[in-house]
């Protein structure tokens, strides 16, 4: 099943992909190639076009313009054949409230044409994968947010997909639940499953993605590995300066020339520098007395700030 097509073509291939809703252009001409075995991420604020892109890739929504091939097939003509090999974990859980945890898995497997026996077998495997064996006979509603998410991901895996699409897999989860989920996703990655996910969490993108694109306003504004993006769009280290409640604009001039770049946020100033400690010494030498100083490694968040010129909107 995973043969010739996958070897010679990327799993996802898009050129000039556009999605319009009436007057509004949600996705404005993007190019993509995702290779087998990759963990690929879409990073961006709400409204950047991530989910619209994901819906086109999952062959639920049809492109308004441009070229799209999924698993070497055409989504318009071969939707069911493509969807048969996809696993989709939507942004909002749409588990079946009328069914138990186990039935959610067996019923879903049946939509993919698995026999009853196969469906039961896969459901048992997935109960272990999602660590939900204790809850197998429970309805969905009483489960915690993390459990529901794990069940949704398990459900997406029930057909042994070649490509798994996760739309904001950990949004709204507490830190423990997020880490457990990351660990599960990492296992999938190790098994060679191709993952495509959207997120607006920088740490999530850094943890899971081999390669990612940053989207803003329906366009791709940067592409690369998390490390290469940080190297291209941010300096190795970042100094965060706070000055109590004083207006920050006044300090910008006095900081010019310290590090590579200065960014003013509502509550703090960021200095991008090769060496953070050197930059801090320079700040003190100029007679400035910040109320707090933090030196840290640059993260994707800094890349994001640089590229979109603003903090994330939630």
């Amino acid at each position: 099943m995973f043969g010739l097509v996958a070897e010679h073509q990327p799993l996802i291939h898009a050129r000039g992909l556009v999605k319009r809703f009436g007057e509004f252009t949600a996705v404005d001409g993007i190019d993509l190639d995702v290779e087998p075995g990759e963990a690929f991420g879409f990073l961006g604020p709400n409204g950047a076009g991530k989910s619209s892109t994901m819906r086109m890739i999952s062959c639920v929504s049809m492109p308004s313009a441009g070229e799209l091939r999924i698993l070497g097939m055409d989504p318009v003509r071969e939707g069911p054949a493509i969807r048969a090999r996809l696993g989709v974990c939507p942004q909002l859980d749409n588990l079946d409230p009328d069914l138990t945890v186990r039935e959610n898995l067996t019923t879903y497997a049946r939509y993919f044409g698995l026999s009853r026996a196969q469906a039961r077998e896969r459901a048992e495997e997935m109960l272990d994968f999602a660590q939900l064996r204790d809850k197998a006979s429970s309805k969905v509603e009483p489960l915690s947010g993390g459990m529901k998410r794990r069940l949704t991901i398990a459900r997406a895996m029930v057909n042994e997909p070649d490509l798994v699409l996760l739309d904001e897999p950990t949004t709204g989860l507490d830190p423990q639940a997020r880490h457990l989920l990351w660990e599960r996703l990492f296992r999938l990655k190790q098994r060679g499953v191709t993952l495509v996910l959207t997120t607006h969490y920088m740490d999530e993108a850094e943890q899971l993605c081999d390669r990612l694109v940053v989207m803003d306003g329906g366009r791709i504004v940067a592409e690369g590995s998390p490390r290469s993006l940080i190297e291209s769009y941010a300096s190795p280290e970042v100094v965060e300066l706070r000055f109590g409640s004083e207006p920050l604009e006044g300090f910008v001039e006095r900081l010019s020339g310290v590090g590579d770049r200065v960014d003013v946020l509502p509550d703090r100033i960021l200095l991008y520098a090769k060496d953070g400690d050197d930059a801090v010494s320079e700040v003190h030498r100029r007679g400035l007395a910040p109320s707090s100083v933090l030196v840290r490694r640059a993260s994707l968040e800094d890349v994001f700030l640089h590229l979109t010129g603003r903090t994330l909107v939630d």
Binding site: A81, D98, L99, E103, T107, Y111, G113, N159
Partner: protein
């Protein structure tokens, strides 16, 4: 042509999986059973209170073919048709709407190889199954009470299935346009008006001409005429016309419903 295109897309297995989902939901919910049981009793209570109770005051009704029957015999097939309508509508309105709009059940299903037309067909098949449970039980009651000859009762069963499919499809199409629960008041009012004025409790021939003309274009009228004709053993060509009306309604409802599912959930 359209039928052919639809037929080529449809996978029986996937439609079956959608039906199977509803069977699973039925098995694991006590409240669902309660709804199911109450749907059977409603027409039965009407039959007893009006057909038998009021019928004692009304006297006998001429059928138009020389036969004169008791009022209960006249009303019972209409209640049978109404129970087929209620059973199917309960499934394709309340349950369907909840699954489409709130539970996002169809959204989850459409991420699999299942197509919108297959969702619609699966839901409709299940609605017909539910409606058939009602009508089979009701026919049994009719036969036991001596309100229909057993063989004619059996002949009426497929007709009630057609009634279920037609109303199920029409209800499903309407449900895709509903904005929220408040719209159900309108639908319930429409359903109750049909129930009262479709030749159910009095022959349409006795209605004022304008009302009679209106009634004759509404679906329950055709359902009642078809079912009554078969249940009372009065087979005539007009029955084919009533059946055709219901077939067309079913096809139209199914087509609209699947188009709307596509439009709303796959945009």
């Amino acid at each position: 042509m359209v039928t052919l295109m639809v037929a080529r897309q449809v996978s029986v297995g996937r439609v079956g999986a959608v039906v199977g989902r509803n069977v699973g939901a039925l098995r694991s919910g006590a409240s669902y059973w309660l709804v199911l049981v109450s749907g059977f009793f409603e027409p039965l209570l009407y039959l007893l209170s009006i057909g038998v109770g009021v019928g004692a005051l009304v006297g006998r009704i001429p059928l138009g073919d020389g036969r004169v029957v008791s009022y209960a015999v006249f009303v019972a097939p209409a209640m049978l048709a109404a129970s087929a309508m209620n059973g199917a509508l309960a499934e394709t309105t309340f349950n369907f709407f909840f699954k489409m709009k709130y539970a996002k059940t169809f959204e989850a299903i459409l991420a699999t190889p299942v197509r919108p037309i297959e969702v619609a067909l699966g839901e409709l098949t299940w609605a017909m199954v539910r409606s058939s449970f009602y009508t089979a039980a009701f026919l049994l009651v009719m036969a036991v009470m001596g309100l229909a000859e057993p063989w004619w009762a059996l002949a009426a069963l497929p007709a009630t299935m057609l009634v279920g499919v037609a109303f199920g499809a029409a209800g499903m199409a309407v449900s895709t346009f509903l904005r929220g629960w408040q719209d159900f008041d309108l639908m319930t009012a429409a359903q109750f008006s049909l129930f009262l004025f479709s030749g159910t409790f009095a022959p349409v021939g006795g209605y004022p001409p304008v009302l009679a003309a209106v009634v004759q274009v509404t679906p329950l009228y055709h359902a009642v005429e078809l079912v009554r004709g078969l249940a009372l053993g009065r087979v005539e060509w007009a029955l084919a016309g009533h059946a055709l009306y219901l077939v067309v309604l079913a096809g139209l409802g199914l087509w609209v419903a699947s188009r709307r599912i596509q439009r709303v959930l796959c945009s």
